[in-house]
């Protein structure tokens, strides 16, 4: 469904062309979840921005990105707007930057559905409640009437996810959606994101610096370094037989807290 072919990007910085992406190719099939893992400066977020055509102004881009056969780079004006509004949805790292601070959450969801998909406001209002239920929010009316600053980061990110799935887009683009959250909140939000995506059969491109986090929700993972994809594979394969030295370093840098995990898994097996 999403097909990125030989995507390259350079950015002019002080008269020098700095390569940001080199020959990045990746595919996401309908309903599939693909991870893009890398550290800062690896180009993972730029790849995502290219798909939405929101790359920096001074960037030169080559290569081909198609979404259901439609060449994204040839889209202009209304067609581009429609692609952004209905075919893909983005979940960014900082929900505070996404939600208008002076509008209650309800308005964010309603306006989103009304403007992007043309859902009548009355209908959108009903649907807003359903969506919040879907992302595991319990006190729905309270949250709908709240302003962004009254809610925690985890709660807001759920609202953003609700907004993203409202139009049932074909593709979710998630850019480090849980990096700003506490670890326990992260686990809940990831669980919710994964469930919603599966239920609605949406594809996802998940960008993160955390290999284990990507492995928990992705069918396949691409490891990026310095603007290139250096290794790709299913999570188990990357974990057990990493081929590229960088993937190995990435794994070894975080000896996961396995002690309790192994104890517990043994317990579970025992039961």
């Amino acid at each position: 469904m999403l097909d990125v072919q030989n995507l390259s990007m350079t950015i002019m910085i002080e008269d020098a062309a700095v390569p940001i992406l080199r020959d990045v190719s990746l595919q996401v099939a309908a309903g599939e979840s693909i991870g893009l893992v890398g550290e800062s400066g690896s180009g993972k977020s730029m790849t995502l921005r290219s798909i939405l055509r929101i790359e920096p102004e001074n960037a030169t881009v080559s290569g081909r990105i198609t979404l259901d056969g439609l060449d994204v780079h040839s889209l202009r004006g209304e067609a581009l707007r429609r692609m952004r509004a209905t075919d893909v949805a983005m979940i960014a790292q900082n929900p505070h930057a996404v939600l208008n601070p002076v509008l209650p959450v309800e308005r964010y969801l309603i306006e989103g559905m009304h403007d992007a998909q043309g859902v009548p406001r009355r209908q959108a209002r009903l649907r807003a409640g359903e969506l919040l239920e879907q992302v595991g929010i319990e006190r729905i009316d309270l949250v709908l009437g709240s302003y962004p600053h009254q809610l925690s980061g985890g709660m807001l990110q759920r609202v953003v996810i609700a907004g993203a799935i409202a139009g049932e887009p074909k593709l979710l683009l998630a850019d480090e959606p849980t990096t700003a959250l506490d670890v326990t909140t992260q686990a809940e939000v990831m669980a919710i994101l994964d469930e919603c995506r599966r239920e609605l059969g949406m594809a996802m491109l998940f960008v993160t610096h955390d290999l284990d986090l990507a492995a928990s929700v992705c069918d396949r993972i691409n490891v990026m370094k310095d603007g290139e994809i250096v290794e790709r594979g299913v999570p188990e394969q990357l974990r057990d037989h990493p081929e590229h030295p960088y993937t190995r370093v990435l794994m070894e840098s975080r000896p996961a807290t396995v002690m309790w995990a192994s104890n517990r898994e043994a317990e579970v097996a025992h039961d």
Partner: protein
């Protein structure tokens, strides 16, 4: 058992809001003891009070009640310039964000030089030589002395911050999420450096972190904080291997690891157990 080098007794700090219901007790009757040459990790999420605890110990914040003893001596509750200067020779701090840990308008050497000037009788030439030595100890090169922060990577800046902390030759270093803002591969390098420095210099660390993987790599003992209180303490192996408190279990359950899946049911069950 030797005498603890950091000994905190019944420390309490409440931040008062305009209305009484806005008041938050960030640290609530917390006691800890750290043996010389060891690393104690203080683990918690945002709002746990772990950073406030660290700030009280170094003197950036004043506790309402309770005492802090460093090297057997009780430190003044309300710090002033003179007491801070004395305390700084015992305890130093490395802050979280490499972006703001150094003045971006000055050469990085100045940050280290400033500390040498405050705590040692060295002259300019000797200080320059000492800076070079300290840079070497943290894995930086002489050419980095005259760099400005923008010319260094996040990891290099954090190395300068460590050199700055070492300059006063303290026996204790408080590390406040000192690797949280770094890439994982850089994190591993910095943690390795910190571990080596601790062994070679016999330093004591108080490591404030939210990250259990960091704890596993560097800490001998752990305290787990939640909403201002310590809910569990023990050796790293005990706490990570056989956690007793449901909150510690929740933290461990939620930490991504190979083969991990986030499970809403398990999280909810543990949350209910914590609440009860």
């Amino acid at each position: 058992m030797t005498e603890a080098i950091i000994s905190v007794d019944q420390l309490t700090k409440t931040f008062r809001g305009k209305r009484s219901r806005d008041s938050v007790t960030a640290v609530d009757a917390v006691s800890i003891a750290v043996q010389p040459g060891t690393c104690l990790a203080v683990v918690g999420e945002s709002g746990s009070g772990k950073t406030t605890l660290a700030r009280i110990i170094v003197g950036l914040e004043t506790a309402d009640t309770g005492t802090v003893k460093l090297g057997g001596k009780t430190v003044a509750r309300r710090a002033n310039r003179r007491t801070l200067r004395a305390r700084a020779r015992e305890i130093q701090m490395v802050f979280q964000d490499p972006q703001s840990s150094l003045n971006r308008r000055l050469r990085v050497q100045v940050a280290v030089d400033e500390v040498l000037r405050a705590h040692t009788p060295l002259n300019a030439k000797q200080r320059r030589a000492r800076c070079r030595e300290l840079f070497e100890q943290v894995g930086l090169e002489a050419r980095h002395l005259d760099a400005i922060p923008d010319e260094l990577s996040g990891g290099q800046r954090q190395r300068v911050a460590i050199a700055r902390a070492l300059a006063a030759e303290p026996s204790i270093i408080v590390l406040d999420e000192a690797v949280a803002a770094l890439d994982v591969t850089v994190q591993a390098q910095i943690l390795k450096l910190l571990d080596e420095l601790r062994r070679s210099k016999g330093l004591t660390y108080l490591f404030i972190t939210h990250d259990l993987s960091v704890v596993q790599m560097i800490a001998d003992e752990v305290v787990v904080m939640r909403r201002g209180s310590i809910v569990e303490r023990g050796t790293t192996a005990q706490v990570l291997g056989d956690p007793q408190h449901p909150y510690t279990q929740l933290l461990l359950e939620c930490a991504p690891r190979p083969g991990w899946k986030p499970k809403r049911g398990v999280i909810r069950a543990l949350r209910e157990e914590i609440a009860s």
